[in-house]
């Protein structure tokens, strides 16, 4: 019964860009259950420092039982994970959390920033696999071309045409990926927007969608101690600020943009 816990064999360990890594491990049961939007908790190192597992979106799974995550190095845990090599194992718990809910009848826009692109690729794969919707438009942003290109190429390989943006202008639009969103406004509604990336980006996307009357789903990040709905550490304020908190690991990580407070 999911979630599963296992020491998974590392099948592939890739450096995509400085500080951006892709880790593939063998976890057939987990792969079979995983849905776009869900995440895994990876144990870091052997000792008690760092202590807690770290959450990572599932980037893709294969029928052969491979599971892939994208890892952006931001601290000591991600740095240690980046050193994992072929043949080593990684202790993984998952799949965890809810999933993006699919609306294949809509025109679909995927807005991803940085490693926030990770779960959107899984979603795009799923969308393209069964009866593909009329339009799937990925809008992908990152700091620089080196980080964005390898991720964007995977969307191209799915037959999609991502619109790109980089902070430094080395690939696509020079600036925020949100710029591309306004182009959609000229096209026929209804769009549904799936979004994952830095908080300010998601807040801006949520605002535009609200104004346009488009449905919007976001994948949130918080500090997590357990990922299992046990610690209640992953609270985020709900749209009803006086009501109970939402919990990212259980109620999320995917939320309707209107469910949560944008502070």
């Amino acid at each position: 019964m999911p979630p599963y816990q296992l020491k998974a064999q590392i099948i592939r360990a890739e450096t995509l860009a400085p500080d951006l890594y892709r880790l593939t491990f063998l976890a057939p049961d987990l792969a079979a259950e995983a849905k776009p939007g869900q995440f895994v908790m990876l144990r870091v190192g052997e000792g008690a420092d760092p202590l807690l597992r770290r959450p990572f979106s599932i980037h893709q799974v294969t029928a052969s039982g491979w599971v892939q995550v994208l890892i952006k190095v931001v601290g000591k845990g991600t740095r240690l994970l980046a050193t994992l090599a072929l043949g080593q194992t990684v202790d993984v718990v998952g799949p965890l959390g809810n999933r993006f809910s699919l609306h294949t009848s809509h025109h679909i826009c995927l807005v991803g920033g940085g490693v926030g692109i990770a779960p959107l690729y899984f979603l795009a794969r799923e969308l393209q696999r069964s009866n593909p919707p009329a339009a799937v438009v990925p809008l992908l942003g990152a700091r620089t071309a080196a980080e964005l290109r390898p991720l964007a190429d995977d969307f191209v390989a799915l037959g999609l045409t991502p619109r790109l943006a980089t902070d430094d202008g080395t690939l696509g639009h020079h600036g925020l990926v949100i710029a591309h969103l306004s182009e959609l406004m000229a096209t026929p509604a209804p769009w549904i927007v799936y979004c994952c990336g830095p908080y300010p980006m998601m807040r801006a996307v949520a605002k535009i969608c609200r104004e346009q009357g488009w449905a919007c789903q976001v994948s949130l990040e918080t500090m997590m101690a357990c990922g299992l709905a046990a610690c209640l550490g992953c609270a985020v304020p709900a749209a009803d600020l006086a009501g109970p908190y939402k919990h990212v690991c259980k109620d999320g990580p995917v939320f309707g943009a209107e469910e949560v407070a944008w502070l």
Partner: protein, 307 residues
Amino acid sequence: MALNDLDLTCRIGSAVLQNPVLTASGTFGYGQEYESFVNLHRLGAVVVKGISLAPRRGNPPPRVVETACGMLNAIGLENVGVERFLAEKLPYLRGMRATVIVNILGDSVEEYAALAGRLDEVAGLAAIEVNISCPNVKKGGVAFGTDPEMAAAVTQAVKGATRLPVIVKLSPNVTDVALMARAVEDAGADAVSLINTLLGMAIDSRTRRPRLANVVGGLSGPAIKPIALRMVWQVAKAVKIPVIGIGGIATAEDALEFLIAGASAIEVGTANFVNPRACEEILAGIGAYLEANKMTSLRELVGSLAI
């Protein structure tokens, strides 16, 4: 060689637990969260997340932050309240044949008593664990658990309101934990459990803001084990009632230290987050140790420290 039948039972007041491995409140949800990893009915008991009379929403985020070999939490006692616990959470645990201990918390002596009274009406609970590390609202927010008289008052009130065995969970943020333990023993506690978290803090030097919205939080995990073990040892020497050891227990090795120091049972907390199978592994390890040391009963181990 014939295997010995191990007697792992331990007694908490009138309750007999099948083994000494319990879950620590607030680190195991209401049990169901761990159903994929642990056979709930095999545990000594599931101690559920602290329950109050009314539901509580808890503190604003961020609520948790990692520290060296530990973590700080300021969940703020978020819980579904006693009625929803009984209606929505307890039936599952009963269905799984889990031994259930309910951890309770309150703002006032009256609230603790009311909770204990309500739980007394409920069938199939093994015991009540009283979290006294909560602020006494009527006494300006001083924690019940830092004042022997307030701790005794809570204990007495809870005992008066229930026939269930009462475990009082002690705060480590005190000068003399043995004094606190004796105070609640004298007030009628059937057992004490310790330690709750140590008050701590972390600052983000980049933003110069506290890492927890609540500024301070409770430190747990392997970092605190030496302090917890010392306090358990001190308390076990000071009281006659059973002592339940808590604090940084992550392996069977850790659990054995507490049992040897005088704990009759132990609770596994933060370790559940890191290794969701921790409780089962610890239970297996304790059995293996007894067998390897030719002991047939847990009681031979408890308090066996040679000084």
